[in-house]
Symmetry: D2
Subunit: 373 residues, 4 copies
C-alpha cells in the first residue's frame, strides 16, 4: 500500500522496469473535465528515455493509453486508468546483477526487505516507475490550470558545480526551459552543463544536479496544519522520487545563516489581499500557502549506474570488479524536470480538493442553509 499517494486525489502506480507495462490509477479526479491522451503525452515525452544525446540510449515511445474513467473525452469522476507498455527490454544486460548488488542501487535493500527481487533492472525502484506519476500528475496539472490558473514550472538550476544564475520566478516559461536539452533557462550555464554531461558520458561516469520549481497562482489557504503542512507534503513527494537527496523551501539551508530581522517577510497590501515584500517563506507560512509563489529546490545525486569499474562485493561477500553494461543516463536532471512538476501538481490538486471541503462548510451560523449538496 506504499504505492499510493494522496488523500482526496489519490494516485496508485504499478509496474516493474521489465514487466508488461507501467502506469497509474488516479482516483478522485473531478468529473466533467475534458481529458484525452494528448493532455498527458507531452509530460511523458519530456520524461522519456532516448529523447536526446544527453540521456540514456534506451528507446521507449512511452505512449499512454487511457483505459477507464473517461468517456467521450470527458472525465466521469471515477478512477482514471493510464497504461504505458514496456518495449525495449534487454534482460541480458542485467545478468551479472543477479549475483552482485549494484552499489548505491536498491538491489541489496529489496532483497533484504522481501527476500526476493526483480531479476533484471530495478523492478519498482527503476525510474520507469515514475511514468505512472508523470501521467497522473499531468492530469493534476490540468485540474489546477483550468480551475485556478496555477502554473507549475521546474528547471535545472545546477549540474555538478555549474549553477544557473537567478531566474525570474514571475516570467519563466516552459518554452524557455525546453529551449535547450539540459532544461536550464540560463543559456550560458546551460551550454556549460551540456558540455559537462557529454564529457561525463564519454568518461562512463555520471553527475548530479539541482532542480528548482515555482508554483504560481496558488490561492492562499491551501495546505493543512501540523502533519500535512504543504511543505511537508512537497518534501514527501520530492524525496519519493528516485535519486533525490534533499529538499528546501524558500530560503532553505541558506536561510539558516540570516537573522530573523532579515529573514522575516513583512506584509504589504496587494490587490485586495495581503502580499509579502520578500519571499523567504517560499510561499508557505505555517504549512499553508500565502498566495506568493511557492519555490522549492530538489537535490538529485549522480546516477548510480556507471560504466567505470567499481570494486565491490557480491551477495556472498566476495570481492568483484563491476562494470555496468546496461544503457544509462549520465545525468537525470533534464528528464526529472517533468517528474518534479507533476509530483508538485499531485500535492497541490489534493490540497485544492481538501480546501474546497473546508470552504464549503465554514462559518455555519444559520439554523438551516438551503439544501444544496
Amino acid at each position: 500500500m506504499s504505492s499510493s499517494f494522496g488523500t482526496l486525489l489519490k494516485v496508485s502506480t504499478f509496474g516493474e522496469s521489465h514487466c508488461k507495462g507501467v502506469g497509474a490509477i488516479l482516483d478522485g479526479c473531478p468529473p466533467g473535465m475534458p481529458l484525452t491522451e494528448s493532455d498527458i503525452q507531452p509530460q511523458l515525452d519530456r520524461r522519456r528515455p532516448g529523447q536526446s544525446r544527453l540521456t540514456t540510449d534506451r528507446q521507449e515511445a512511452d505512449q499512454v493509453t487511457l483505459f477507464s474513467g473517461v468517456e467521450n473525452g470527458v472525465t466521469l469522476g471515477t478512477p482514471i486508468g493510464m497504461m504505458v507498455y514496456n518495449k525495449d527490454q534487454r534482460p541480458g544486460d542485467y545478468r551479472e546483477m543477479r549475483k552482485i548488488p549494484r552499489p548505491s542501487h536498491a538491489d541489496y535493500t529489496y532483497q533484504m526487505k522481501y527476500g526476493i527481487r526483480a531479476s533484471s533492472g530495478g523492478g519498482r525502484s527503476s525510474a520507469r516507475e515514475t511514468i505512472g506519476r508523470v501521467a497522473a500528475g499531468a492530469v493534476a496539472e490540468k485540474i489546477l490550470r483550468l480551475a485556478y490558473g496555477v502554473e507549475i514550472l521546474a528547471w535545472v538550476s545546477a549540474v555538478n558545480t555549474i549553477a544557473a544564475g537567478d531566474i525570474n520566478l514571475h516570467t519563466i516559461t516552459r518554452e524557455r526551459v525546453d529551449a535547450n536539452l539540459i532544461r536550464c533557462p540560463d543559456v550560458e550555464a546551460a551550454a556549460r552543463m551540456e558540455a559537462l554531461v557529454a564529457e561525463v558520458k564519454e568518461a562512463k561516469d555520471s553527475v548530479g544536479g539541482i532542480i528548482t520549481c515555482v508554483c504560481r497562482n496558488v490561492p492562499a489557504g491551501w495546505g493543512e496544519p501540523v502533519f500535512d503542512k504543504l511543505e511537508a507534503r512537497l518534501a514527501h513527494a520530492m524525496l519519493s522520487i528516485p535519486a533525490t537527496k534533499g529538499f528546501e523551501i524558500g530560503s532553505g539551508f541558506a536561510g539558516t545563516r540570516l537573522r530573523g530581522s532579515a529573514h522575516n517577510d513583512p506584509f504589504r497590501a496587494a490587490d485586495g489581499r495581503l502580499g509579502t515584500v520578500t519571499n523567504n517563506s517560499g510561499g508557505i507560512q505555517g504549512g499553508i500557502a500565502n498566495g506568493e509563489p511557492i519555490v522549492f529546490r530538489v537535490a538529485f545525486k549522480p546516477p548510480a549506474t556507471i560504466g567505470l569499474p567499481q570494486e565491490t562485493v557480491d551477495f556472498d561477500g566476495n570481492p568483484v570488479s563491476l562494470e555496468a553494461k546496461g544503457r544509462h543516463d549520465p545525468c537525470v536532471v533534464p528528464r526529472a524536470v517533468p517528474i518534479v512538476e507533476t509530483m508538485a501538481a499531485l500535492v497541490l490538486a489534493d490540497c485544492a480538493l481538501r480546501q474546497k471541503a473546508i470552504m464549503g462548510l465554514r462559518n455555519l451560523r444559520q439554523t438551516q442553509q438551503p439544501a444544496g449538496a
Copy 2:
C-alpha cells in the same frame, strides 16, 4: 485529519497554545511494554521553554500525564493518551496581533484558510503543538530501543554561520550533546554559538541553525518502496516541524557536486551481512534502510518573533510598525533537538511494525503452516 501521522503506529496531536492543554494519542503501540511517565518526561524536559538562558522566558513545567492505554506500568496495545496542561498563559501579550498578522507567522494563512484563528499565540501553529509529538515519539524511541537497540541522536551542527566540526556518528552520545546549553558536541563551536545567541537575544533579534541526526542499528529492510520511501517519510516528518526550511539525507545537496564514481557506496562484507565502504546514501537505498547509520540534516529558520520593530501592514493593509511584546526564543535549535529525535522515532517505529507484517508472511510456499496467529 491533518493532525494524525503514521500507518500502523499513529500519533494524533491536539491543543492550541493557549487552551487548557496539549497532548497526543498514540495508537498502535505494541502491547506488553513497560511504560510510565518517566519514560516520556526526559524528552519533554529537553524541549520545554525556560530551561536555560538561551531559550524563551515562558515557564512551563510541561509535566505529562498518561491517561489511557497503560495499566500497572505496562502498555495494553490500546491508544495511549498523553496530556500536558498549559499554565503560563499571558493572552495580553498578543493583543495587537488581533489586527496585525505577524510577519512570517501563520496568522494570515490560518485566517485565509479557516476564516477564523486563535486569538492569542499561534494556536495550532505554535511550537507548543510539538509537545504531543515529543511525548508520543518518546514512546516510539522506547519501542525501538527495547526491540532493536536502535539509537537516535540529534545535535546542533550549525547556528547561523557557525558550523560544528565533524562529529563521529558511531560514538556520539546524548550525554555529550547535552553537555552544553546549545546542544552542540563540538565544544569550541558550542561556545561561540552560545555567545552569538546571547548577543542576538540582547539585540532583540533571532538566528537559525541546522540539526544533524543519526539513527544507529536500524535493520536493513525497513522503509517501503515508491511513495513511502524511508527518506520521504523522514522528510515529511521533519518539514512538518514548525520553522523548518530544508531536509537532506546522506550526501544531500553537497552530493550533487560529486561524480557517480565518487558518490557510489561500494559494498563490503561485514559481520555476516553486507555493509558499505562509504555512506553517501545516508543509510537508505531505494527508500529502504541498508543497515548503515541513517544520517540526515534539518534546516531551521530564525524564529519569526523578534523584538525589533518591523514595518508591515495590518489585516486591512494599513502600514504599521510592529514590535513583539511576547517572550520568545532567540534560536530554536537547542529545543528542537528532541523534536527531531522523536519525530524520527515515530517514522522508524512505524516502519518496524510494517516490516514485521511482511517478514511474518513472506515466502509462503508450503500447503499449510501451523496455525500460529
Copy 3:
C-alpha cells in the same frame, strides 16, 4: 490505529473502562461553528448509565469537557478534544475475571490478540468507549443540522420478541422517542417492553433488541461509489458498536423475498427534483443518497453480563460456574439509541465534506476561473 474513523472528518477515541477518563479527538470539524459543551451533553445524558431503572446501576455523570479546538464558543477548524472522567470504578467487582474469560465478552480474544488485557472491566471493549463516539457524533449532528437541516432519529423498534408497530418516518421526533424509558415511540409496545426488561432484570438475565434509524433531508449525491458506498460506511459504523449483530438498509433481509417488479422504486417528479414512489432502497442507490429518507435497522444481542450462573471454563480450561457480580444493563437498546444516531452523524458529515470537494471542482471547462480558494 483502529481507534480512528472517517476520511475528512475523523474521530479518534481513547480510554478504557477503568482508567482516568475516556473521550475523543474530532479532527476536520468546519471552522467558525458555534460549539459549547451544551451541544454535546444531551446525547451523553441519553447514553449515560444509571439514567433509569431499566439500565445499569453504575452511576456516572459523564460530564464532557472541551479542551481544545474551540475558542470563545466557536470552532477553530483544529482538532476538538473532548474528555469525560471515569468516576464510579469498582475494580473489585472484576476480581474473578482475571482467571475466567467471561462468555461472549472480549476477555479471551483481547488476551489472544495482545497477550495482555485490562485487569478490570472490558478495557477498550467496554461500552464506555462509546462515550467518545457520542461526544464527537453530537458535533457532527450539529454540523449537519446547521448546514443542511439533516435530522437523524433512532428509536427502539424491538425488544426480544416485542416489536413496535409502524412508525411514520416523516413525522417522528426525538421528543416522542424520549417520551418513555425504553425509547420506543409505539406507546403500547413500549409498555410491554419496559415490563419485560424489568422482569428480565429481576431474573438476572438480559434481552436484545433492534434499533431503527431514519436520516431526513440528506441531499442527493452524498456517499461514494464502490468501497465507500454510503450503506457500507453505515454498516461499518453500526457493526463497530459493541453488541451489534446485524445491519439492514431499506427493505433489508425482507427485501430478498420480493420480486424486482415489486421491489423497484419508480421515480416521480418532486419539488424540482426526482423522488421515488416507494423507498425499498432506503434512500441510497449505488451507494449514493437519492434524497429520500435513509432508513436502516441495527440488531443488538442480549448483554453478555448476566447474574445467572454460567457453566464455563477458566483460562486454563478448568470448569467453573460463573455468576457476574458487576452491575450491568439488562437491555442495552435504550442507551444505544444516541450511539446509533451519533455514529450515523459521523458517517454523514464526512460524506458532506467529501461531496463539497467534488461539487467545488466539477465541470472544469473554462480556461481559468477567478482565483477563489
Copy 4:
C-alpha cells in the same frame, strides 16, 4: 479514492462496464508466493456472466492477465496488476437510459453526485466492477490458504421465499456448493430455487436471495478493536457489493429474540486452547476472532433490471413506461457467491498482516533483542 479498500493489503479497482477493461491493483501482497493466472481464473469463472441458463446472456470470457508484481510465477511484494478486457458491449441496449433514470439503479444518483455519468451500462455501479475485487480476493484467498489453511466457503441459503435447510459449517465444500447451478448445497431446495429462477426469467422479472459464508481456521486474535472490528470490516465489505441490503454475523437479527442466558457462548477446553460450546458470536468477540468458524449472511435484493414495463419518469419528470432491453440476471446470488468469498478473503488477509505486526513486537521487556528485521 473510494475505489480502494484495505490497510496493509490494499485493493484498488478501476473500470466501467463499457470501457476498455476492468481490473484491480493489489498492493501489499506478501513476497515470494507462487502466483499465476490459474490461481485467479477459477473464481472469475464462477462470477462470469453467461455461465449458465440461470444468468444473464451477456457473454464475457473474463480472462485475467497479470501485468505486474509477479515474475517467473512468484510474487515480488510489489503491486499486482490484474486486467480483464471488456468484449461483449452493446451500447445500443442502453440508448433509452440516457433520458430515463432506471428505477433502483444508480443512474440518478451518479448524475446528482457528479453532474455526469457513463452513457451506457452502470459505469462504476455495474456488477462488472466486481471483477477487480474477485481477482484480487482470489490472491488473498491463496495467501490465507497457504499461510493458515483458512477456508472460506459461501453458498446460496435462500432465493426469494425458498430457504435451504441447515448446512454443516464444518464439512461443507466448494465442490458441494458448485454441484448445482444455483450454488445451494441443499439439493432439494436447490431444485426448487432453480425452477423459480427459470420461471422468473421467463416472466421478465427478478428475485433476490441470501448468501451464507463460513470462514474456517481463522486464528484467534485477528481483527482490531473499536472501529476496525472484524465484523465491522466484513459488514463494510459486504455492503459495498452491488445489490446488497443486509448483513448479519452469528445469531444476527434472530439473536435479538434470545435471552442472554441462552445467547452467551460458554467456553470449553479444546486442543490446548479455549473453544466455545455454542457459536452465537459467529466466531468474533469484541471485534476479534476467537478461533471458532466465522459465520455471516448477506441479503441481496432482486436485480433492478427487469423486462416488465415500469411506470416511472424521465430526468425531466415526464411520465414514461420503461421496459429494459438489455440482457440481465434474473437472480444474482449464484454469481455473487465468489464475490462474497473473495471480499471476505480481502478483509481476513489484511487482518492477518496487521496481526503479524502486533505479534512481532509484543512483550518487549528485554533491554535489547537480537537485531532481526
